[in-house]
Subunit: 271 residues, 3 copies
């Protein structure tokens, strides 16, 4: 399913944090062109300069928004260099991001995804230019998102189609004969360790057990299935394996962080 | 006064923080059903897994919103268990939260409050179900709030009336012959210590003095009534006793935290 | 250019943080009077009790919003005292803030700026009064901003014109024969050190070099012009000199903070 009709909604995902006025100014730049935009912050606390985390979340969050929404992601250490900006049409949404691997997880899951690179001359026709070399979120992403979300601009018209983009910085989980191997991608506010192991990889497992740090954990359904303070693993609400500590922080209690290896084995086969 | 007409406004109060896309995804889930919703973040920094703080603030903040608003609070360590979700009609508002004590402060102040428990079969009729066992904020609270705020669903129709809910985790301040005893409930961004001592409890006091840590403090009107760095107590803008340090942090300077006892005595009687 | 027609948009700049419900309650107070307001958070992480930072950003951010927007800034250690609240008309915008130096940077740049002090009697006519002595953001700024943004109230009618306001807490950068001297005003989420040295001050320099801490740095165009971990200086997207560490934090790497002196010399003249 491709992009049909703009919903008027724009989501923002950045590593800007909320301490400075950068996110606010991006919104001002959107509203100047599209005063009735509906803007939703997905998160502005992506690990600084790590596009992989933004792509991980966008792939898993985009579908919860109205069809026809525009998802803008700016994690952009190469701002002001020759790196491209791409528009991806996938699943009824438009995604805008620098071509630095950020959108690879979105493109990789959808063989029907259409990718275009933004063309400077075309942007100039829209009155969009790199006024600064360091804040394309405000100068390019915001006005372009506004034009698309307002339904005034077909993203396919923004530049030439692209057949190859920068690959993801994050390896996919590996499926081997008796195990699946992945890593901790991100840690949430509760200290839950969230991995890149998608639930379908465990489909053939009878009794999956998760190995993380010094723990071997059976898969539970929800946090309260362990006693407070106890560790557990589960498939979380975004469909990936997560390691948690009931009413506590798995991050602190296990001492694990981003990149820590996580393995799932089948206890039945394993015996 | 009960809920009459939806204002279209939904407030969100959670312990999700803003680091992850959880709040953003809840908003997406609301906008999918109700694209013209007006969503306001009350706070997402409730102390993790502590519903009492959410209830404390909701009771004191709800009235500042347009009549007919829907106040959603998700601090929910029991998500995915048999705990109920309740809808409370009070003061012209609807409140939605897990039945874990969170809404007790709201219900306790209003003898006319009406409480209903959400019924799974009824939710199914609205197309709402627990798609996940761990994120009911997205899967249940958001779509139900959207239906109510859009004026398409009477909260009383969502399930059977309930006459008893889980009580508050927080004791009310105690009124004794010559004193009122309470605790620090929360600490704000400025380091002000905010107590559960409501101003009406001090009505009969001629010269109230606040005992906190090693300080005895007369009640002042505003922060600038003490010299910078000096301690003071006042009835804050939400009608409760607060201990502050002018242009400083009472939390750091007094070394007090949540749960610290605070006593108010009448200096006149006390003599 | 003065304020002509309200855009319906209100920006908020405070030192309230996002931990407490204070910002949410301000928004509720706005929506009660003006349900279709468009509210944008500029930032709520202004250094506590430091109006200068709010003024620094407002002057440099206001123009990115639709003409006719209302910019509200509440950094207000003197709340509840005799300090005035002022409305400034400048550049097609209205600014509302306590008269504590916050808006001096906005007024100083615009000889055509018009300043009025809010009059208690006039506010009373609008049904606005200081219900509390400690939260004028909710009780005064929010409803007044709502009335102006809704187009129901000319800011010049709110009280008498004022010819003198409290000056800025922040000195302007100094231009000397062979150098420009300024300070670090704020540090962003990335650890970039942002100074008060506006680019036009360097107009006559052939080869500007920035002296900060133990570094002498030529001016670059963007972050990627230094190798990762390397220091650089640039004119940032808000037109002021900034010291950065490519893919790192200049704050941590240089050990500099707010108030640190920064000097720009011309390498050509200097030889």
């Amino acid at each position: 399913m491709q992009f049909k009709r703009a919903s008027g909604l724009i989501t923002l995902t950045t590593d800007f944090g909320l301490r400075d006025p950068f996110v606010g100014v991006m919104k001002g730049s959107i509203y100047r062109r599209f005063p009735t935009a509906c803007i939703v912050d997905l998160t502005h606390e992506i690990l600084v300069h790590w596009p992989a985390e933004a792509g991980f979340w966008l792939r898993r969050c985009s579908d919860y928004f109205p069809e026809g929404s525009v998802h803008v992601a700016v994690v952009d250490p190469g701002v002001g260099t020759a790196r491209q900006i791409i528009a991806v049409l996938s699943g009824g949404f438009v995604f805008l991001a620098p071509d630095n691997g950020l959108l690879a997880p979105v493109v990789d899951r959808d063989p029907a995804a259409v990718v275009h690179a933004l063309d400077t001359a075309r942007l100039a026709q829209l009155g969009v230019s790199a006024a600064s070399a360091t804040f394309h979120g405000r100068d390019i992403f915001a006005p372009v998102a506004a034009e698309i979300a307002a339904g005034r601009c077909d993203p396919r018209s923004l530049g030439p189609p692209v057949t190859s983009i920068v690959p993801s910085w994050l390896e996919e989980a590996q499926q081997e004969s008796d195990r699946v191997t992945g890593v901790v991608v991100t840690i949430d506010h509760f200290g839950n360790l969230i991995t890149n192991i998608d639930a379908p990889l465990l489909r053939s497992f009878v009794e999956p057990h998760v190995y993380a740090g010094h723990q071997v954990l059976p898969l539970r359904r929800t946090y309260a299935d362990a006693t407070p303070g106890g560790f557990l693993a589960l498939v979380n609400s975004f469909g990936v394996v997560e390691i948690a500590c009931a009413e506590g922080s798995a991050e602190l209690a296990l001492g694990l962080s981003r990149g820590a290896p996580v393995v799932v084995r089948d206890a039945v086969r394993h015996r």
